[in-house]
Symmetry: C2
Subunit: 182 residues, 2 copies
DNA sequence: GAAGATTGACCCCTCAATCTTC
DNA sequence: GAAGATTGAGGGGTCAATCTTC
């Protein structure tokens, strides 16, 4: 996808008609969506390399690893991870395959429902997540240094959270307080 | 990449210690970055199908097409498109390949620099972009209906633009006022 | 030698079909 | 029959190597 918000600060009325008839009416909403995509892509390109080398399994696995790490018992059912991360079932299967191959996670059978299975972080996996998270923190801090005041940061987070809850509500589902398990 | 901002509204103090020792200290900045990724992923999954079927060439080409459409003469040098979209040179080559195969764009030699080449939208390409943009507009409007007040929308866009300019400055580079070209 | 573009090798995701278990 | 998970096929991306032109 990726939609362009592109045009600089003074979007409208820069170029009455850009050569042909393509309207330059940059709807606020289209611009907004484009900015989200561009910001995400920019962040990704800035932050991926660090996570990649820290995890050894492609930075895209970080999301999955983090979800597991934040869950009680460091384990989650496959389909729950898929819902939270937004990955397709197939994509998640392969993602867990890689983590298993790297020794960062293991699969466990689910006694209550023999169709389902859990993915659980290994000790190595837990350690790697912590390392990667630490590095991620410092890289983010460096990248965003001086960009927002605390209030701005708060405002941005609140608005983004509202957007996220609209377009990807499952991402907010954290495993919730269950019995500490084991 | 994709980092989890995950936890719902009441982030902190939901789960004093999630079974093991992984700190639940959700730094504001980490959360912010995670929210950007989650919002972008959510928007993508909501909006891609529409663009896909409207363009016939995978919705991810929309960004490239839009950049071309917004440029004078509907053409841009390959490397400029790559910089604006954030695609790698190789990725852009293949993306243009697909557009050419679909009849939406053509390659043109650059007289001033025989190393470079232009990608230019065909008439069909221009028409498709307009159709896709129209559909995109209505889908976005539907998706974001009632989410933000105009002021909130403005605030969010301003903050996101600042973030985007930090992490992906080239995205703002629009071809700028040149001679209308033909 | 550096820059613009392309190609080959490879990684990762999605979709649809399949199998098992509810 | 529906849900959870996996697999095969295929699309689309990156990186490194290469070729041409500056």
């Amino acid at each position: 996808v990726s939609v362009g918000a592109s045009t600089g600060q003074q979007d409208t009325t820069t170029h009455p008609r850009a050569t042909a008839g393509l309207a330059r009416t940059t709807d606020d909403q289209i611009t907004l969506v484009g900015l989200v995509f561009e910001a995400a892509a920019g962040l990704r390109r800035n932050l991926s390399p660090g996570l990649d080398c820290e995890l050894g399994v492609g930075g895209q696995s970080f999301d999955v690893l983090l979800r597991l790490a934040r869950s009680p018992g460091q384990r989650l059912r496959m389909s729950d991870v898929a819902a939270q991360t937004g990955l397709s079932p197939g994509g998640l299967t392969r993602s867990i395959d890689r983590l298993v191959a790297a020794g960062l996670a293991v699969r466990e059978a689910c006694p209550q429902d023999r169709r389902a299975s859990y993915a659980r972080l290994t000790e190595l996996g837990r350690a790697r997540v912590e390392d990667a998270l630490a590095r991620h923190r410092s890289e983010v801090a460096l990248l965003l240094e001086g960009l927002f005041t605390p209030e701005e940061s708060k405002t941005l987070a609140a608005l983004l959270r509202r957007l996220r809850d609209r377009v990807h509500p499952d991402a907010a589902l954290v495993s919730g307080p269950e019995e500490p398990s084991r």
